[in-house]
């Protein structure tokens, strides 16, 4: 005890076993250890920060100073992105260019007086015109569209932000549901074994054998087309891999000593599965989930591409990209910005997933 006083360490710490340097060995939990290793991985950290940033923006969308994602200003169709000019200025320039072209085509040296007058009236109109949204009159031409507008005069920036809400939600909720289903079925099949295991795995085999798009379309037809069902449908066709992985882990773990110990002290099977076995499979499941989120977002965008995704006026990255694809040769920003937003997010998720896989790899425990 006197020794501890000299070293200035608490009594509790000295009771821990000492390593070869005489320092106490600290127990490191799986998650703390993984976090320490994740912190060393720069790409994964960048990915994590971007994912957090996206989530914050998506959550704060209603209070951010952006225009509505669904109000249409039909005069503002296909306005190019601009940081400096208001919509009115862009419209005026567009009109001026048209008149100049018309004057040139007609062979005039300068613009005729009636053109100049018409432009002046147009400028006046742009300065004063208001439109009513939800009972509030708005001077729409004073708006700025940093990322341009779409074919119905809606602000692309706001649509991308609200679209990220939908896309990220689909990624998260779809993955959570898929993981829950897969975890429950996989752990029961692995733990119980026998006939239940056989039947469950045959069901998985058969569902693997069906084209998943068929299942999604049929499920959507049966349960109705709305966004909740979209989550559920995607989850219903995606739990297969998780269940197989979890089942494999269960089988290899269920005869280990700690499970026998739990059984000896009389723990119920439910407690053994969900308190002792499932936590041991979480590492694999977390890796799967992070890599599954981008897949879900891609899947939703694919459905939107086919016209089976979210319904207008709601937007998702997929539906925005689809609109952009149709307009790419004339209005490239309509494809560029949504595709960029989506790709950066998926990129970050993938790097985060790779980083987690390395960090949670049991072979590298306590290796920094």
């Amino acid at each position: 005890m006197a020794d501890t006083a000299i070293k200035g360490k608490s009594v509790k710490e000295t009771q821990l076993p000492l390593d070869q340097f005489g320092e106490p060995i600290k127990g490191v939990s799986l998650w703390l250890d993984a976090w320490r290793r994740l912190k060393k991985n720069r790409m994964a950290l960048i990915g994590l920060s971007i994912v957090i940033l996206y989530s914050i923006i998506a959550l704060l969308a209603p209070v951010l100073p952006i225009h509505s994602y669904k109000h249409q200003v039909l005069d503002h169709q296909y306005l190019p992105p601009s940081f400096t000019k208001t919509a009115g200025q862009l419209l005026y320039e567009r009109q001026e260019a048209l008149f100049q072209q018309a004057a040139k085509d007609a062979g005039f040296e300068a613009m005729p007086a009636e053109y100049v007058q018409a432009l002046e009236i147009f400028r006046e109109q742009l300065a004063t015109e208001t439109q009513e949204f939800d009972g509030v009159a708005v001077k729409v031409h004073e708006r700025r569209y940093y990322l341009g507008t779409d074919g119905l005069g809606r602000d692309l920036l706001s649509r991308i932000i609200y679209g990220s809400q939908v896309s990220i939600a689909i990624g998260l909720i779809g993955t959570l549901t898929a993981v829950m289903i897969g975890l429950i079925i996989g752990s029961l099949a692995g733990y119980i074994g026998g006939t239940f295991d056989y039947i469950a795995m045959r069901v998985v085999d058969v569902m693997y054998g069906l084209p998943y798009m068929l299942l999604v379309i049929i499920f959507m037809a049966i349960f109705g087309r709305n966004i909740i069902n979209l989550f559920v449908c995607l989850a219903l066709v995606s739990w297969l891999t998780v269940s197989r992985v979890v089942r494999g882990q269960m089988i290899s773990l269920k005869n280990s000593e700690f499970v026998q110990a739990a059984r000896v002290v009389g723990a119920s099977p439910g407690r053994i599965i969900f308190r002792h076995l499932v936590p041991n499979t979480l590492g694999v499941v977390v890796i799967f989930a992070t890599l599954q989120i981008p897949n879900f977002i891609l899947l939703e965008s694919f459905l939107s591409y086919l016209g089976l995704g979210v319904q207008a006026p709601m937007a998702s990255w997929g539906s925005l990209v689809r609109d952009g694809v149709d307009a790419v040769s004339i209005y490239p920003w309509m494809l560029f910005f949504p595709a960029l937003a989506m790709t950066i997010f998926l990129f970050s998720m993938n790097f985060l997933g790779d980083g987690l896989r390395d960090a949670l790899d049991p072979q590298s425990k306590n290796v920094l």
Binding site: P211, I218, F302, G318, V321, F347
Partner: protein, 309 residues
Amino acid sequence: MTKYVIRRFLGLLPTLFIIITISFFIIRVAPGGPFSREKALPKQILENIEKKYHLDEPLIVQYGRYLLDILRGDLGPSFRYKDHDVNYYILNALPDSMVLGLMSLCLALLLGISTGIVSATRQNSVLDYSSMAVAVIGISIPLFVVGPVLMYIFAIRLDLLPTSGWIMADGSWKTAIMPVATLTLPYFAYLARLSRASILETLRSDYVRTARAKGLSPSVIMFKHILKGALLPVVSYLGPAFANIVTGSIVVETIFRVPGLGIFFIQSAINRDYTLIMGTVIVYSVILLIMNFIVDIAYGFMDPRISYT
């Protein structure tokens, strides 16, 4: 070994039977039918049409009739397209999808595995980081963005390649470049990541250290020792990937107007074209089951630790 192969092969048949049965009934549960339109058909006409296609019979009778038909190799008439039967549509579209898919898959294998080897042997080098960045981009960008962007650059802006057309229809190899390149990208990306991770893991194993200690040259170690073990995950990925890619990608086929099978998977389900849905399901699952079977057998040859006794 032979006994295992035969038993494993016979085991495919019940699975196929269950897949056929489940999809037959599940598509009948879905609301709407092949003849429900926005403007409803007059009752008498609808009844006559349903009679013609035996839709008025009890479901179980239709099911029995369908099973007998497919045993004879007849997938039945399409409920939506009047000109030909399902056999005709599938036999016509499948070769196009297969050619496109096989070209892309071979290219993806070649590029993906060589990228994996280079990245793994030069781990944490600039080359490794940049090729893995390309691979992550490859799995992060939807095909329906890659396709139009390639088309915009190479067909519209640079005017180097035709926007559409298909090698098997007009014989010009130029028409195959963009569809194959687009379809290759995600498979290449996945294969590069998969083979890199797997090679890195194998590099740490004892037998590789032994081979190195014997003084074998690095290329012999890579190609004779490492790849044999490291490519096992790639082989098992190839089963489902092959089935997916040769049955057609709806995105690539619609963007580049390749007359393949992909579109039927979606369109038939939306149209509730029962026989055509069943046709696509059967083609897909037969290819998938056979490929998984081949992968299983190939595993036995590649991995001496697996024995089938």
